[in-house]
């Protein structure tokens, strides 16, 4: 900009390492993280499907893995990501549309999404 008189100098003050996490920040970062997990899951899922349909032995191997501890935890984590991303996505769309835009509503809707995700996570853990 034409108004800048000097190049900034001096150390940058601390930011992410010291900032306290509010519920909104958790909800937003959680949205990015769950979205990333879901996108990465798609190729893994296709790869598993392809492996399953290769031969009977492959089917048995994938079947065993999916029903092992690690397999179940993976499915559980992807399930949580999906439900969280879905619910928080609706929350974001609502806020974009101007619903629930007050300071208190923004906090409350984030908490509702978290509580709902935890409930579904417990339910999913029981079902698996």
């Amino acid at each position: 900009m034409q108004n800048r008189l000097k190049e900034p100098s001096g150390p940058l003050s601390p930011r992410l390492t010291i900032y306290r996490w509010h519920v909104g920040m958790l909800a937003s970062i959680g949205h990015r993280a769950s979205g990333l997990a879901l996108i990465l899951f798609v190729p893994i899922y296709l790869w598993l499907l392809r492996g399953m349909t290769g031969s009977e032995d492959n089917f048995a191997a994938v079947f065993n893995w999916l029903h092992s501890g690690l397999g179940k935890v993976s499915i559980w984590l992807v399930g949580i990501s999906l439900i969280y991303h879905f619910c928080n996505g609706i929350r974001f769309i609502a806020i974009d549309a101007g619903w629930g835009e007050s300071r208190e509503s923004m906090r409350r809707s984030a908490r509702v999404v978290f509580v709902f995700t935890v409930l579904v996570a417990v339910l999913l853990a029981v079902m698996l």
Binding site: P8, G10, G24, M25, A27, I29, M106
Partner: protein
């Protein structure tokens, strides 16, 4: 024997220190309702005159003493000591170039404010008296005009931390919205043109740290949402 308050304060002197460090101080609780600024003043006047910080009005109007207090941005002059976990960690506003101790370089912040042209732009000829506004139109400025440009919101925003060179940040965008909703302003189109950009406006990811940090309890996230809807309705 007065109760003792423990503080841990960010220090950096460019002429002496290679890098910043935290220094602890102990200050007596001087009165009930004592504010953080009172404690900083006590340190400066009674313990260590080299501690450097900005302050002016002392009552949350001038916006000089925006600081990071126990991890959240706020104004030292209106933050009560009571209720703060001790030792109270006092740091400069995040992601800013430190000039000395708690004083940061605000040039870029005010430059971004200047970019949104924060003044009334009107083509219509000057009326004989003032430009009138109905009480309803005036009411639409509530929640925007109270901003004191302390920088607490903008420097709390992770999107601005990473992309502050291009993303205008919550304070400038709240102010942009203030002129967009002003019934007397006639440059809404140009204002929206300037904001319609993947970075300048759309880097906001609704993290909402801005509204949590705002000492005037305003809502920059909602203001940004309003600008987005304004842009959308212009298209359809």
């Amino acid at each position: 024997m007065a109760e003792i308050i423990k503080l841990s304060v960010f220090r950096f002197d460019p002429e002496k220190d290679d890098k910043p460090f935290m220094q602890t101080y102990e200050v007596p609780l001087l009165k009930s309702g004592m504010k953080l600024l009172d404690a900083l003043n006590y340190i400066k006047w009674e313990i260590d005159g080299t501690l450097t910080y900005r302050r002016s009005c002392g009552e949350g109007v001038c916006g000089s003493d925006g600081l990071n207090i126990n991890g959240v941005n706020g104004l030292a002059c209106i933050t009560p000591i009571e209720g703060l976990k001790q030792p109270i960690h006092v740091r400069p506003l995040p992601s800013m170039h430190v000039i000395r101790d708690l004083v940061v370089d605000m040039d870029h912040f005010f430059d971004q404010y200047r970019q949104i042209k924060p003044w009334l732009q009107s083509e219509s000829p000057m009326p004989e008296h003032e430009r009138l506004q109905s009480p309803e139109d005036r009411e639409r400025l509530d929640g925007s005009y109270e901003c004191i440009l302390c920088g607490c919101c903008t420097t709390s925003c992770p999107s601005w931390w990473w992309n502050g060179d291009r993303f205008l940040g919550p304070a400038a965008l709240l102010q942009a919205n203030r002129w967009i909703v002003d019934s007397r302003d006639e440059a809404t189109g140009e204002r929206l043109d300037q904001l319609e950009d993947a970075f300048r406006l759309y880097r906001c990811h609704q993290i909402m740290n801005c509204m949590e940090a705002c000492p005037k309890e305003l809502n920059p996230t909602a203001a940004i949402g309003h600008i987005r809807r304004k842009l959308l309705s212009r298209k359809s």
